[in-house]
Amino acid sequence: MTNKAQKTKDEGQITDFVEITIEPLDVGEIARRVVPESCGAIVTLDGFVRQFTKGRETLYLEYEGYQPMALKEMEKLIVRAHEQFEIANVGIVHRLGKLEIGATSVVISVASPHRRAAFEACEWLIKELKRTVPIWKKEVYADGETWVEGEQTEAQKADKHQNLKNNHYE
């Protein structure tokens, strides 16, 4: 049902990319794509499918996404990362579909002239991605399955679904 979708932004030397794919992710290949020649370090976050969640054994996971919105939200995160951190370029790739234990679900790579900014931006990006990008995972066990619902912030709960845009972007 999902297909490879890719958007690339070119602004002179800056080349960021966001991508959603059902293919296996090659962490090294993704990291190498964010390298501009003037930069000295790349920091990469590689998220993957855990075998145990709260002590219960997962057989595999299914990821589903609202693809066009997910790509837009990923692009917004990159814009906001450039505003906050001195980074050169960013790549975010999320996999959808059935993922076996140990498979990489998401890769975020950030290149920067000074590695501090790359560490900060990469950590901020994964935190925000888990909060704002419309992708969901279903954990499949031997005896059932569950769609994982993310934790809404207290502000979101208090608002009873009002004002979501502000909660997501302030």
Binding site: G47, E64, Y66, V106, V133, W147, Q156, L164, H168
Partner: protein
């Protein structure tokens, strides 16, 4: 007017559909549109819902237009 409503993950399972079309009165606000959808599918009440209009998170006050793409889903869990 007619709008498309998309469901994903837990909301798609609850509703039993991934995509439906509903009729709304002209100038319905996002907040009221979500309330109508939940009334039509009360099984959604057991979930904490997020709502998007045209692939953007809604703040509730948006005026829905004919042909808009709405989406109802639970708090995201990617990564």
């Amino acid at each position: 007017m007619k709008v498309q409503v998309l469901f994903f993950g837990a909301t798609a399972d609850a509703v039993g559909e991934r995509e439906i079309e509903i009729s709304l009165a002209e100038r319905t606000k996002a907040e009221a549109a979500l309330a109508e959808i939940v009334e039509q599918f009360p099984q959604l009440k057991s979930h904490s819902l997020l709502f998007a209009v045209n692939q953007e998170y809604a703040n509730g006050g948006e005026i829905i237009e004919n042909g808009d793409e709405l989406a109802v889903f639970t708090a995201v869990s990617g990564g």
